[in-house]
Structures are given as C-alpha cells and as structure tokens.
C-alpha cells in the first residue's frame, strides 16, 4: 500500500540534498577525517533514503535492507578508522608502539 504523502517526498529530497553536501565535503575534505565523516554520513543518509523510498512505494520489506546497509556502514567505518590509525587491520605490538609514539608526539599534544 503506497503512502503517497507529500511529506515523504519532501523528506526524500531533503535527504538527497544532504547526500550532495556530504559528497561535496568528501571531494574537498583536506584531511582523512573529513572524508571518513562524509562517507559515514553518506551511508546513514542511504539508509534513511531506503526507508523513505520503501514507504513511498509501499514496500516496507526494504527496511531489512536498510538494516544491512547500516551494518555495512559500521563495519566499513571501523575498518577505515583502524587502518588510518594503525596503518593495518591487525593490532600487533609494532603498530601499537607506533601509535603510542604518535599519541605522545608534540603535534598531537599541541
């Protein structure tokens, strides 16, 4: 049963505008963290868009897919952040010591 309410359409367009802004930030983003945040936001907006489109077309079984997308987004984000922090996905001693030295470096502590 499609819910053809104008509010849903407005919500979908608002989400698309937010996606565009996130994409622009990812393109400009000078640091890793701008881009990671933009990607994370983009994933969240995709989840929301799927939910809104699901209600617009009356196919609420798409909500399961939205759940999968948020899981994927989470796993991807953890992997990205691990990688940018440790330079690897493992957490062996060598990299731990590298991170320690980075945390104690003057540029981080100001």
């Amino acid at each position: 049963m499609p819910i053809d309410h104008p509010a849903l359409l407005v919500a979908a367009i608002a989400i698309l505008v937010t996606m565009t802004l996130a994409l622009i930030r990812a393109m400009l983003g000078p640091t890793i963290f701008d881009r990671v945040l933009a990607l994370n936001m983009f994933g969240t907006k995709t989840v929301l868009l799927i939910c809104v489109v699901g209600f617009l077309t009356g196919r609420t079984d798409f909500l399961d897919l939205a759940l999968l997308y948020s899981l994927m987004n989470f796993i991807g984000m953890v992997a990205l952040l691990r990688f940018s922090e440790y330079g690897t996905f493992g957490d062996d001693e060598e990299h731990k010591s590298l991170v320690e030295s980075w945390k104690n470096s003057p540029e981080v502590n100001g």
């Binding site: 979908a12 698309l16 983003g29 994933g43 995709t46 799927i50 079984d61 798409f62 999968l68 987004n73």
Partner: protein, 203 residues
Amino acid sequence: MLNMNLIVIPILLLLAATAVTVARIRNLWAAVMFTGIYSFLGASWMLILDAPDVAFTEAAVGAGISTILMLATLSLTPKKRHRDGHLQSDDFEEKPLKHSPFWPLLVVTITGCALVYGTYDMPAFGDPNAPIQVYPDPSFVAKSQPDMHGLPNVVTAVLASYRGYDTLGETAVIFTAGIAVLLILRKNTPEDDRRANEQEAVS
C-alpha cells in the same frame, strides 16, 4: 511515477559525479572511499528498480568487503610514512600519468555510446511482454508465492530455492576466492620473516 523520477534523477547525477571524482582524484585513499559511496548509491538505485537481491549483494560486496580489501591492499603497498608512523591522507598519491588521457577517454566514450545504443533494443522497464517475463515459463511467477510459503520476491525464490544448488556452487566459488584473497593480503608477522630467513640460510 513523477515522484520516483524526482528521486532517481538526483541519484543518477550523484552516481555520475562520484564516478568522475574516482577517475580524477589522485589520492588513492580518497578514491577507495569514493568507490564505497558509489556502491551505496548504485545499491539504492537498484533497490528503486525493484532488484533488492542485487542491491543486497552490491551493498555487502561493493560497499563492505571491497572497501576493506582495497584498504588492505593499500596497507601493503609502499608509501612514504611519517617518522611517527601516523598516516596522512596525502601519503597515497597516485603516480602522475605518463601518457595523454585522450585515447582512454575516446575508448570509454565509444564503449558508452555502444552500450546506450544497445538499450534501444531492450524492452521498457516493467514491460509484461518482455522475454524475461514470458520465457522460459511464466508459471514460476504464479507458483512461487505458494511454493515458497509467501516469499514476497520471485527473484529471491528462484535464487534461493529453485536454483538452490546453483547458488550453493556460486557461494563455494566465492568462499574459495575469499580465502585466496585473504592469504594474499596477509601481512607477514615477525615469525614469518624469521622462518623465511632460516629457509634462505638452509638453501
């Protein structure tokens, strides 16, 4: 239908913008992130085209696994690393092009035109008389609902049950490929290095 066009057209425009960015950006690390965004967009579009199983695969493989595999590959490639071991975004610059981008652009344009030309022979989206609906046997569509205890999607019923053994075989192939990729992308531990050195000394 007008409503859906308002959503589909921006999604396709964002897809095009992301694809151009992936091609143009010199920072490999950022390019990996943009392929993730591309997969998310592509999967949403497939969902709107009523192909949730393809969208599922695209989200799991495109946005999830390939992003991680690409990053794992990047972590194995040589890069300039700051003395403190922390990675900066600009540590992954692609090498500058040695040739002019004219010929690749020409090839891609011709291929694209051929593909667009090919779509003119295709039936309209959702056409009930399209070959896929009437061949080999339309009774699958009628039977799948009672056969699969009310599974709402015919494609899922065909993939997971009528063609169950085929799908099992595909899964085995993908599993094998996954093991191989993980073995290749594995980082050497100090123990591995020591053993390799010992073997070298013996031979």
